[in-house]
Symmetry: D2
């Protein structure tokens, strides 16, 4: 909810947003979250989806939507805003049905508009269908162009529209939708965790590299698909397993079946899910996010030890790693920064003269803890570095004698093409500056990044490989030049 | 604004609407209004469109939208609600550009949702395009099915999406968009007045029968297209002429050009534009709406004279005809009913016990005028007759000795397939009952409908023929069985 | 709803209002409307008040409120805006009780804020009490100062707070609230029609001059108080009689009783109630508003005849008088101007270059009627004259050969101190200019005002005298210098 | 923002709130926060107040307001809701002035309505005045009754109205407002931290027992008053000192002066400010809130040691104490519960069958941390115990082998009369049950409360005594029977 850039030129246009430069934390933009439920025994699926989207809200705060099959037709409601702003009791009550899918979105390419909100609902030859997508195709632009060559029109800039067009086409020559989906998966390249709602099926799909997470849960006789296990917990469901890379999960009245596509040798889950995106209480591909962050902190302490009096994390994402750093180093853990829990999307920006207080309104130093101390501040990553600089200053103002910054991931150097909005490479400070230059710029006494080798050992028990393209420039697949022209998830 | 049925299940769902049965005037649903401007000299086109849509608001109160070409891309804003609810200063200021189109909508088939609001904006091989539509295709369902057979997906239920798909396809084998449009016009059947926005052109199209109006205006060096001339007046523009049936008007930097398609022998303007839909200060195909209504009143007096003390019209649409009836009959004209100017869309329905006051809150008898009098009440049409019955009662309660009802059109018997929402034929009282039965049901002392012959003489000076299908069942073209399956404009 | 100035700096501050100078019709500001009901048989009083306030909405569009006694305590809801914007089904359902009062407000002194909305609800020694006020005290400032001398604090600028303070004080030395009210009425001077809600009584009060209207209705076993009879009609109630000047009406479980204060020799109903404020279907002190306006038109035709082809009224208030002018002169009545029914409070003002179209968006000439004609335009009054000038221009643009303006009241020269907002005298064009100068300024071919003598004969059957201070400067009572310092109702 | 009860019957009535019984955390209701600034050098005081209120938002989420003196008159804006919902750029820009005060409110007696929002702005003999109040008078009802005996009327149920009436009265016989305030302070009894805005002064007052906090800050040449020092930090101001119990601080153009009233021997700061209400980064009367909580955790470990694998705090208020418990006991600190950061005021309640998931949507167990472990859960207090029970269950579901509950304060047994809403004593579980009974009810394996002796040693360095009435029933002053009849702050 905080720190996001919103460019919805024509929706809620009155809201005054934070200046990205000065006030918003220069954080990576979360991508999207998806959810689906086939509820055999009652019609409350939209309500359960609502609670699940709450649990996934950290994955996207720009728009949200729910589509439900009421037995006759698809009903849906979606809009710009947070889940609790979009839905109310009356709307939920009007969305009755056994099968539902939901989506929360943060746009990954700045094209933020109501037209791009999801799920996308369409009518095609075989009836109605709704889809929610997390990820980003790298060949969407190419496919769109090809489709346009044949006269296809597009009403949004999201990948879902491309995928739905392909499903519709391939369905013509297929015996069923599963067959069509298999064909589509041979065409599209990139990151995609999809949930699809048809009149009688809930379908979940994970791309062959497994770049974005998607897990399976169940409660009573019903099955669930979700981006993270925390959404299962929110509705009291049990975590069964993750959808495998290249797997198609089909849930219908008779139960759950699976189609496994051929996949490349190794999977490539986005390592940033563990570093920053996912909630600490989630498990992805068998590994605990909290545990991974604790490990990152431990390894960071091994790789970049320092003599200090106190270690703390930048709330909220740096906390788990700070605990790990403390455990390993023996430096006491404490709170160093207090986060204001009420700063929201319509926060009015301080005027020029007061600009320096902007970050302080969001994060205040805990003077009692840091005064006269040598402190270690753990953050998950540095994007542009502007916030880091402010935080160092705030801590010094509060009396910190030394401020040692430790980052629980390697320098972020290369853009992501798989569902994370990293703007241009020129805005990534680590792409331009050395670690020492970054340290100087932020004013920290020392700065240490976790090594890639260290990082890769943090998702303890993970049954998957990882995409580390943002650190190495080595992506799990070839990335066309116009990979981010259209986008999202 | 009043008396409309709104079924937007998922937008503004909190609004409490009038029960159609008891409170809403059983009026025909207005269809849609379109507007377009190519403003050579400044970027204010969206603002002018805003004022024009105000003037066309009577043609649709369910949703509205404006699309504008800012020189680089299409910008648009559309939503559910009235024009002043949807736009504000900031939104208008963000819609800068020379060319703009706008739309006000009342759904003609009950499918009322944000997805169906217009203009529809798409991206296709040749770039971006926006379209606004007034009318209803009778072969849209057939074309959709054909397109679906080829894998096309649809995101709305409006005809515009069908037409845009066709333009996109035909554009592939055409040298320019005009050529594509010509081909499309050979495929689509029904009523359509279209305005299309491309990066450098404003295009206006009227179907070969000219069923829905579309006129051309100009101001300074700029050209304008509008459903009614009152929209030209609103922005100070001059009325040049109407778009001819089957004509394509292309406005670009170099000026205005025209392509005339071959048309059937006679045109067929919807006669209800004169009876009820259009504003009295508008001219359609050369005929004044006010004059046509005055004439209807005159002829009604000739066909159905009565001895009475006073004649009045049901506000607002019956007023012009009542003036005509008074002129012809010599019976003094006065106000018989006072309309509350503030009843809006969120009026809370009276509870059962007070239901009978519902109509009275909207229309109150002017006791001073009608007490002890024999009155003639002129209305434009009777749809279900429930309101007529209430009005007769209100007038009697106010002391009217006799209430003679005169209708300035023939009995409405057949459904419209060209852009008017007439529900099922079984709800049309004249389809089921004789005039005498209707009179009895409403409680009037006498009831007279204008004859079709009489009506056809009322649009004095009209340079067109008329569609009178709703009175005769004789439509200007063959109507397929599923003609209204998808719809609107 | 239209033509009003709104200065609510801190409520709905985003709304963009019309520039008074250019776009708002320079109309007198309506004052306020009050309503009260003691409903013996059910708890639906707030709902009935809601419908009644709809019928009184023309008396005030700035704020509205309803207070109800639920048997234990006073509940209330009030806010800025129109009645349908302020109340919804849930709010009405929460306002259950037998006794209710309501208020619609237009501020008469520019102090427009939520604090000033009514009814005002207080707690005092004898329990809770709510009051709604229409009118303006001329000695409120003096009383406030006296109360402040004793340490009293004020939270609003409305007279109700002064009156409630007085009631509370006098109640201390009185046996009942009626006795206290009698004492208060000896202290306060000016115009006041009040409805008061106590835990078990509904009280109605009209000032000794009867400057503002207040009538009594009944339905079944219940009694009603209302500013105008149209509010009685709206809920199906019967008009019994008007509250007499200086009368206190007390309605309780046992029925209605009356206390008559001594009054000055002659009453002085605001003549502008008949000219402009009241709805034509209302009766005030026994006279029909519609009839009075018809008579005004007739007498205007006698006093200022002209050779012309057509007469029409400026909608909506000029219509009745235009009918009268037509009847008397024999000049045909027709529509000359068409009013846009959708222009609302948030209409965005045209930019400088388009400013001249502002009035045209609200009122368009009916070219068909006026083209080539000599027309007589009837309006109820001229305040600043800016709109009159625009209308003459619009009519000439539409082809009117001659435009003769006739005003159904005398020149408005003096400010009102009794509940009408007339701004400063310098803004009243008739206070500065001769009739001929006004004619020249507006561009009309001729201009005629109804004489005061003529006007006073128009409320046929009125059982009251009239205040004509705005025409003569002769007020029914002495007016202190700071009469308008605090105000309203 | 979370877990609060809102009873605003007539504002935002559409919001659907949580059922207190099942879903809302049974937390003490925060009271109020006040702020004031005299900004000598610019007119930006309202904007700074806005940021300060953000920092104080945890003290009240029901309504907020800002009043400012623009040099001529008092301007203000207040409404129901959170600070960012109430204010926008336009409103802030319209509130220009050197002196401003602000207020955030949570109602302490359930009377939650717009009328009760603060600051309260009045006009009295000496001009305008605005006041914001944190606390609760115990003799307000008595004073109100006395004032009512003299005819005074009241429009709200808040103490501010009583105090303002007294100031106004005493001002009559005083030479200046300070003198009047001194007199008022001799009359009123209870808890009050007040900020008062007059045309040229900012005045801060703290009751003679110093029950509610109030501190002084400065920045450049300007002075500030605030409930907590975190509000000073938010605008970059320096913390000078706390207002002394019984001190009146007067800030004007010439600087700051102080009047010290005689006070009882020992002060009595509400100890719950340290336990729960204040932000950890605040200092009150010289003691750090974070430090006090750490100490409470330490002493809790000494008083109630347990063998366990992990200790954690219930977010957010239990975290500091959990750190202390960990430090003292050597049991590792970790996260045991993850709080959803997006659950807001309009969260839709789960239906009956899903009710048990209610708490889980807000707080999810961190399975990775607690699975198979013996855990110590630190909370600041237990009010009704319903949430504690759910949390124990959630932790067991996540695999916790043992759940030991430790409370960083003594059993809460007696109601508060000084600004905390504790409902009736019968809802306080500790008033009815023994510690062992509470343990059984919640299902915890052990339960330990911090002793009062231990607690009193936790605010290290505090220059004040404490009110511990809620634990002992011994209040710093006599409490009349109807002490909470009217209320707030």
């Amino acid at each position: 909810m905080f720190g996001m850039k919103r460019e919805n030129h024509f929706n809620n246009i009155n809201d005054i947003f934070l200046s990205e430069d000065e006030f918003v934390f220069d954080k990576l933009k979360e991508e999207c979250g998806v959810f689906g439920i086939y509820n055999k025994n009652n019609l409350d699926s939209a309500r359960l989806t609502y609670y699940a989207l709450y649990a996934l809200q950290h994955r996207g705060q720009e728009s949200a939507g729910i589509a439900v099959n009421d037995g006759e037709k698809l009903l849906f409601h979606k809009d710009m805003g947070l889940v609790p702003e979009i839905f109310n009791e009356k709307i939920l009550n009007s969305l009755k049905g056994k099968i539902a899918i939901g989506h929360v979105r943060y746009s990954t390419t700045g094209a933020s508009s109501r037209e791009n909100s999801q799920p996308m609902v369409i009518k095609y030859k075989s009836g109605q269908m709704a889809m929610a997508h997390n990820g980003n195709l790298v060949n969407a632009a190419k496919i769109r162009e090809k489709l346009e060559e044949e006269g296809i029109i597009f009403q949004s800039t999201i990948d879902s529209e491309v995928i739905l067009n392909l499903i519709s086409r391939f369905r013509l020559s297929s015996n069923n939708i599963e067959e069509a989906i298999v064909k589509v998966m041979k065409e599209i390249k990139g990151a995609y965790s999809l949930v699809i709602l048809t009149p009688n099926k809930l379908i979940g799909i994970r791309d062959p590299h497994g770049i974005r997470p998607l897990c399976i849960g169940h409660i009573d006789d019903s099955y669930i698909l979700a981006s993270e296990t925390c959404a299962l917990d929110a509705i009291g469901a049990e975590y069964i397993r993750d959808v495998n890379p290249g797997e198609i999960i089909v849930i219908e009245e008779s139960g759950m079946t699976s189609i496994q596509m051929e996949v490349p040798g190794k999977s490539a889950l986005c390592i940033f899910e563990h570093i920053y995106f996912a909630r600490p209480d989630s498990y992805i591909d068998g590994a605990s996010v909290h545990r991974a962050r604790i490990e990152a902190g431990r390894r960071l302490a091994q790789e970049h030890p320092v003599e200090a009096d106190l270690v703390f994390g930048v709330p909220d994402s740096g906390i788990s790693a700070a605990l790990g750093y403390s455990m390993e180093s023996g430096i006491p853990y404490d709170l160093g920064l207090i986060k204001n829990r009420y700063i929201g999307r319509t926060f009015i920006q301080p005027e020029q003269g007061q600009r320096e207080n902007g970050v302080r309104i969001k994060l205040n130093a805990l003077k009692e803890a840091v005064d006269g101390k040598r402190v270690v501040m753990i953050d998950d990553s540095i994007v542009r570095g502007t916030t880091s600089k402010r935080l160092v200053q705030i801590l010094r103002d509060a009396g910190a004698k030394e401020v040692h910054m430790r980052i629980s991931s390697p320098p972020y150097i290369y853009p992501c093409f798989f569902g994370v909005d990293t703007s241009s490479r020129s805005q990534l400070i680590a792409a331009e500056c050395s670690v020492e230059e970054i340290r100087k710029m932020t004013g920290a006494d020392s700065l240490g990044y976790l090594s890639l080798e260290g990082l890769l050992k943090t998702p303890v028990g993970a049954k998957c490989g990882f995409c580390t393209g943002c650190f190495t420039g080595q992506y799990p697949m070839e990335v066309p030049e116009n990979a981010n022209k259209y986008s999202c998830g």
